[in-house]
Amino acid sequence: MSRFPVIVMALFAAFGAVAAPADDAAGSPLVRAGSQADVLRGSFRQEKYLAELDRPLVSSGRFLMARDHGLIWEIEQPFESTLIIGRQHMVQRVDGRQTLRLSRAEQPGLRVVAAVLMAVFQADMDRLRDFFDIRAVSGAGSGEGEGWHFVMRPTADSVAEFVARLTVHGADEKVERIEFEEPGGDRSVIRLQTAPDSESPLTPRERREFVD
């Protein structure tokens, strides 16, 4: 269960980098960027490559991250599923039915994740370095656009169990693509697009989701 949030964490690390194509491995641009937005909304498209499958599993949907609340990852295609990572619990709903619910009290692992999540929100780069060895590559145009990317390799045991390598690609001030490689060889590529209303405050409905 605790494997979900690892990529979430990576995701936020990437968001942190939105406004700051890194010049080196230093965290200061991240700090600046991360502290800017309280709320970010957008859409995503994920391709998952499994060794046993010829074609990738594709999903798409919307996401919402709120600095003081957590994250909502809402898959719309090929079916509806919502993952909410709040401060106190983690909930998964499929077709409106709850399929998973973990509270922080019964799942120490979730506490770990939530703590990291918040650290990322607060752009606590020192904290991230507890888990990752972060190498930034500027202008390495392997991807699309005016390329920069980060390569993060886990240093913490607890993270290394789930992630072998994490690569965040971006152009200018935007994260465009996150590549997530697992120790088992499976690989995911997530493309992100921020929405026009991306930074408007949480609606009451959204707020409820986190508390629920």
Partner: protein, 796 residues
């Protein structure tokens, strides 16, 4: 010099033996107060359970670091951990979850469990599958699993460590997640970087560090070593981050404080007794020689006592030494009798012959009294009794062998003799003379009155705290840490029994099911079957999968094909499942492997043909409900270590009461040989009456009266009878001399036990207080009961 030579030779042999033992490391000083208590007699399983609980708690050390600044907490904890783990005195020093089991170990464990993955189900999944199976083999109930699996594979980071196809429904992942619930303490949390922490009610975080002593903290040398390391660790931590508040919980500090205290008390009581002895001897006998000889005789006795005790028990308890230090005051009696006798018989051999019957009879009654103390199957008291008997016999031998040979010129008649003569003429003895009837009535009346008071008001106390009263600061740390970690300070557990491992585990699982059903918070207990599903459950799990997710017409094939898996992969997975049928993760394999870490100690194994395990209760919020659950399980019983020990103290208090009566009976038989029935009764009346009066005193004042008071009363019999014996055996001119000796001995005894009453160990305090008060009463009563005879013979 032949006799003295014999004595000297004996002492030399004893000293050499002791020196050899000390050199070979076989001479152990023990400081565990609970080692003084008898093992629970009831049955082997309970005994093993008690021992296991004690062991588990005893070596653990918990450090809690409090500071508002996380960096400070971190650096202090790291500094302490470095010292602790580098010392070799502690093992399993853990700041982070990884320190107990790192990722590689966890990976290996998961890999080794792969074989059994179809036998393992998380409790919630199992319940959901059971529900689904009940609704005719699947259908809607199973949608939950396919939906979850779909969400997983399409969701963020599906797959995790293994291949999706190996665990399509996420059952194994769910099982591992359910296992990661920590067994150490309900409120212990793991931070993002793996560090242990806990949160107080005010939201403040506290860093937590665990360590395990390599050796028993009650062994004195291990204890000293561990304390040194701990102190250095604290010092280093404070240096690293001065603002951090550090609390420590663990038996180690209590043990160290107790032995430090015992050492101070040995020195204090020993020195006090010796100084009293010095002053009294010099005052009474006007010379240094009687003093030196007495000290030598007693020293020889103590040496014999230490050697005999160590040989019989393999160790000497520090409390035995505290008690032994007070024995000096008793042993000196024999010397006093010898020296005071020399006022009448200047010839040393003649003097010895004169007092030998009295001191031998005195020794016999003392040995009888101490011996009855040893009759109780109470290791600590047995040791003290052996120590006392050996010490007294050793001193008696010293008086026999050493004193006559080196006695020197006879002492001059001194002030004490004059005082005693006056006391005999005009004091209590004179008062008692000729008023036998009146005295008998008074004695009878006060006996009845005191008995009535005792019976009505005496409220015995059998609390374990009689043995333990740690410093408030230490207890405060302990309580605060228990509160922060959500665990209780008292070790309680449920013992589950069966006639084999399988039946124990089955019974345990049943108890846990009922506890859950009764709504008792799962964070409140640790149990083996939470970490290891018994074979019966494994079989059920497999069958459950066979009937639901993996049923021939079940959702497996459709689901995987929909996702895009080829027929080959699907078939391979199905084959994996079929192959796993009948596999069993054996209990022995679990117990020996890394998965048992943290839970393995709950397995008691076989004891006297019975198998058992423990369910550890961190805290009990609703004892009534717990008792209700246990009522329906014959094979499970609550074990409350504190209550059990208090129960023991209560049982043995009853036993000691019986022993006291038996000892009086035996002493009466023994003393009736020289004195006749009436005379023997008169000898025994003073200690008897004094005992009842002391009991009444405790009843009226409400002071704690326990087993230890009763043992003091048994000793009072031994010493009190001595007074009567000496007074009865001394006639005419001897009488004043005998009385000086009795008088001096009462003074030294009073001094020794009066000092023992100052001990801060409640048991020793009660013991000393009872004896001190009892001795004064016995002393006065002895003159009334035995002093009335032949007052005329006081001219010397």
């Amino acid at each position: 010099m032949g006799r003295a030579g014999l004595w000297l030779g004996g002492v030399a042999v004893l000293a050499a033996t002791l020196a050899f033992w000390a050199h070979a490391g076989t001479f152990n000083l023990q400081s565990n107060l609970l080692a003084l208590l008898p093992a629970p007699q009831r049955d082997a399983v309970t005994a093993a359970a008690m021992e296991r609980l004690a062991e588990a708690g005893q070596r653990r050390l918990i450090l809690v670091f409090s500071a508002s600044d996380a960096a400070h907490r971190k650096s202090a904890a790291e500094a302490a951990a470095e010292v602790l783990s580098g010392s070799g005195a502690f093992s399993r020093v853990a700041l982070r979850a990884e320190d107990w089991m790192n990722a590689a170990q966890r990976r290996n464990l998961r890999k080794s469990l792969d074989r059994y993955r179809f036998q393992l189900l998380a409790p919630a999944d199992r319940a959901a599958l059971e529900r689904a199976a009940a609704e005719d083999g699947g259908g809607a109930g199973l949608d939950h699993f396919t939906a979850r699996a779909r969400a997983r594979i399409y969701g963020m980071g599906a797959g995790g460590g293994g291949r999706f196809i190996d665990d399509p429904f996420g059952l194994t992942a769910a099982w591992h997640a359910s296992m990661s619930v920590n067994p150490v303490a309900p409120e212990l949390r793991v931070a993002a970087d793996g560090r242990f922490y806990t949160r107080s009610a005010d939201g403040e975080r506290h860093g937590v560090l665990f360590a395990q002593g390599v050796e028993d903290p009650f062994g004195l040398s291990a204890q000293e070593g561990q304390m040194r390391v701990l102190e250095r660790a604290l010092e280093r931590a404070r240096a690293a981050a001065p603002g951090v508040e550090i609390r420590v919980a663990g038996v180690l500090r209590h043990a160290a404080a107790a032995s430090r205290r015992a050492r101070t008390e040995i020195a204090f009581i020993g020195t006090g007794s010796l100084v009293g002895l010095f002053l009294l001897t010099i005052w009474a006998f006007r010379g240094i020689r009687p003093l030196v000889l007495s000290v030598l005789a007693i020293g020889g006795g103590c040496l014999l006592a230490v050697v005999v005790t160590s040989a019989l028990f393999g160790n000497v308890h520090v409390l035995t030494l505290v008690f032994g230090a007070s024995l000096v005051g008793v042993a000196v009696d024999y010397c006093f009798h010898f020296f005071s006798r020399r006022w009448l018989s200047p010839q040393p051999r003649q003097a010895l012959r004169g007092v030998l019957p009295a001191i031998s009879l005195g020794l016999a009654t003392s040995v009888l009294a101490y011996g009855s103390m040893a009759a109780a199957p109470f290791p600590g008291l047995r040791q003290m009794a052996v120590f006392a008997v050996a010490g007294l016999i050793g001193t008696w031998l010293g008086v026999l062998l050493l004193l006559p040979a080196c006695a020197g010129p006879p002492p001059a008649a001194t002030a004490p003799l004059r005082i005693v003569r006056r006391w005999l003429d005009r004091g209590l003895p004179a008062l008692a003379g000729g008023r036998a009837r009146l005295l008998a009535w008074a004695a009878g009346l006060s006996l009845c009155l005191a008995l009535a008071i005792t019976a009505l008001w005496l409220d015995p106390d059998d609390d374990i705290r009689l043995l333990y009263n740690s410093a408030p600061a230490l207890l405060d740390d302990e309580r605060r840490i228990a509160e922060l970690l959500g665990s209780g300070t008292a070790a309680r557990a449920i013992v589950v029994r069966g006639d084999g491992p399988e039946s124990v585990l089955r019974a345990e699982a049943a108890v846990l099911d009922d506890l859950r059903a009764a709504g008792i918070d799962t964070a409140q207990w640790s149990a083996i079957t939470r970490a290891y599903p018994p074979p019966s459950v494994q079989r059920q799990n497999y069958r459950l999968l066979q009937r639901t997710l993996y049923a021939p017409d079940g959702p497996l094939e459709d689901f995987l094909t929909q996702l895009g898996f080829g027929a080959e992969a699907v078939c391979a997975h199905r084959a994996d499942f079929a192959e796993a049928e009948g596999r069993e993760w054996a209990f022995s394999e679990w117990l020996a492997g890394p998965a048992a870490q943290g839970h393995g100690f709950l397995w008691l194994g076989e004891n006297a043909g019975q198998w058992a395990s423990l369910i550890l209760l961190h805290r009990v919020s609703d004892p009534g409900r717990l008792a209700g659950v246990l009522e329906s399980h014959d094979d499970a019983a609550l074990l409350d270590r504190v209550a059990r020990i208090s129960g023991l103290l209560r049982d043995y208090r009853g036993l000691a009461t019986g022993l006291l009566l038996v000892a009086y009976g035996l002493a009466w038989l023994l003393l009736s040989l020289p004195f006749g029935w009436r005379g023997a009764f008169a000898v025994l009346l003073p200690p008897m009456l004094a005992s009842v009066l002391v009991a009444a005193l405790f009843a009226v004042t409400g002071w704690a009266f326990s087993l230890f008071n009763l043992f003091a009363l048994i000793l009072l019999l031994g010493m009190g009878a001595d007074y009567g014996i000496f007074l009865r055996l001394a006639d005419g001119a001897e009488r004043a001399a005998a009385m000086v000796a009795v008088w001096l001995s009462a003074m030294t005894t009073l001094l020794a036990f009066g000092l023992l009453a100052l001990s801060r160990t409640p048991a020793l305090h009660s013991f000393g207080l009872t004896l001190a008060v009892g001795i004064v009463l016995t002393f006065l009563l002895a003159f009334l009961a035995n002093g009335g005879r032949r007052v005329e013979g006081t001219g010397g």
